[in-house]
């Protein structure tokens, strides 16, 4: 199994390690998922997300290439800004969701899900032949940490030389933490203010220690999952996959009206099913794969679900047939053979 540069740090912190997409990753520390989750909502937490892949696209036609290969429009990005984006296939589905940062007029750094690094690289390389630019795998070049929570700007302000108050959401800046060069972006996937820190793998443990010594609580992938779910963000392999049309989700804003790869299969297609949020009315927890019923017929399936550590409500995403997807629709989730009442709601699942 692959190890991030912070593997020894996680072991020293007595993390529970699990296999995630071929990586040995912390699912939680002794503090537990709930405490880690609450720390990010109320103060500040630190995640190792070095397992994620980085891909650099570089060359005269990098902008034209990415405008064609992705659903959002990287051409609209100012320098040192990032955007949420997706990579379509030619069957109306998604190969991966990703973050694209503009690092120069003709240079972009893309952050992709760990499980999809190979498929993203293979796909981009198959399309890039027609463009004057290169696709470079930098996944081993970068350690990546996410400092997340309402206290993250204050904490980071104490440990970096630069003034971060002017750093806007989705903006990036080069700075230093304890002498280590860090590319800092005001991004994250928790629904809170926060930053992601790209650094050299050999510096990762130093940066981690500085941030945790300053008060950030180490948080694992378990809390990362409950936080993104509560915030109403999709996770590839659950809400999105190579069969899901993003135009049938709340993330249709990502898809810009321009020529893009696979457009014919995606654009203007009727949505037979839609991605919705659910709240259980009765007790229980909806899990991935549980069946969703409306008026005695199955209308869909849960894609992710948990008990919200913040609100204590049972929340989920589900793909359901369009006629049952209206907000407020009373539906049922089958939990171990029992139908449990639930309502279609519009994420996020907590007040922001």
């Amino acid at each position: 199994m692959k190890r991030t540069p912070l593997y020894d740090t996680h072991l020293a912190l007595h993390a529970r390690m699990v296999d995630f997409a071929g990586w040995s990753m912390p699912v939680h520390y002794p503090s537990g998922i709930q405490q880690e989750h609450i720390a990010v909502r109320s103060d500040v937490g630190l995640f190792d997300v070095s397992h994620m892949g980085e891909v650099r696209v570089l060359g005269d036609e990098a902008t034209a290439f990415l405008r064609y290969a992705t659903l959002n429009d990287p051409g609209r990005l100012k320098l040192a800004r990032g955007q949420y984006n997706m990579l379509p296939n030619d069957r109306g589905g998604v190969i991966d969701d990703l973050y694209v940062y503009r690092e120069g007029d003709d240079e972009y750094l893309i952050v992709v899900n760990a499980a999809n690094v190979d498929s993203v690289l293979a796909h981009l390389r198959s399309l890039v032949a027609d463009y004057a630019c290169h696709v470079i795998d930098e996944s081993a070049t970068w350690a990546l940490m996410a400092l997340q929570g309402p206290g993250s700007a204050l904490l980071l302000g104490r440990v970096v030389a630069d003034d971060l108050t002017e750093l806007r959401k989705n903006a990036t800046v080069l700075t230093k933490v304890s002498g280590c060069p860090v590319k800092l972006s005001r991004t994250g996937y928790t629904g809170e203010d926060g930053f992601e820190l790209f650094c050299h793998p050999t510096d990762a443990a130093i940066v981690w220690d500085v941030l945790t010594d300053a008060g950030a609580l180490p948080c694992g992938l378990g809390a990362r999952d409950t936080l993104r779910l509560e915030a109403g963000f999709p996770l590839y392999g659950h809400e999105l996959d190579d069969t899901t049309n993003p135009l049938c989700t709340d993330f249709k804003w990502v898809v810009k009206d321009k020529p893009f790869y696979g457009r014919e299969a995606m654009w203007g297609k009727p949505c037979s099913r839609r991605l919705v949020g659910l709240k259980l009315v009765d007790r229980g927890i909806a899990r991935q794969g549980y069946r969703v019923f409306h008026q005695d017929g199955q209308v869909g399936e849960v894609s992710s679900g948990t008990l919200s550590p913040l609100t204590r409500e049972s929340i989920a995403f589900a793909w359901v047939e369009s006629q049952a997807s209206e907000e407020g629709t009373a539906i049922e989730v089958e939990i171990r053979g029992q139908r449990v009442a639930a309502t279609i709601v519009s994420p996020p699942f907590f007040g922001q």
């Binding site: 939680h28 999952d225 899990r287 948990t306």
Partner: protein
């Protein structure tokens, strides 16, 4: 890992007390609660239900996953730990005391001899983890 010597165990990580007036108390081991992580929801059997050894009779859910609980012995459910309803985290904090799950009136006390003693369970858990 705390595995008290005075209890008996199953390979599926339930513990069972010595019978008192024909009734045993059942819960999940410290090892099991540690593997699960934060417990947030518990489904317990109905009082009075007849259960057979090995039947799936309860569910303990952590943030991440739902875990089936099996009856270690056959008998009738005598009572359940209703306090877990409002405080499922007791299973994490006190797996052998406040975190107990249910009590069973034994129909066949000889089944207890089939269960693992603390030494055997310690061995089984260490091989798994």
């Amino acid at each position: 890992m705390n595995i008290p010597d005075h209890l008996r165990y199953t390979a599926s990580h339930e513990w069972v007390t010595e019978p008192a007036d024909g009734v045993v108390t059942v819960g999940i081991s410290d090892y099991a609660q540690d593997q699960l992580g934060d417990v947030v929801y518990v489904e317990l059997p109905e009082t009075g239900r007849e259960i057979g050894a090995g039947d799936q009779v309860a569910v303990v859910e952590s943030v991440k996953t739902a875990s089936d609980i099996y009856a270690p012995v056959s008998g009738t459910v005598e009572s359940v730990n209703d306090a877990l309803d409002g405080a499922p985290e007791q299973i994490n904090h006190s797996p052998y005391q406040d975190g107990w799950l249910f009590r069973v009136r034994l129909s066949d006390a000889s089944e207890l001899t089939q269960l693992l003693d603390a030494t055997a369970y310690r061995q089984a858990a260490s091989e798994e983890g």
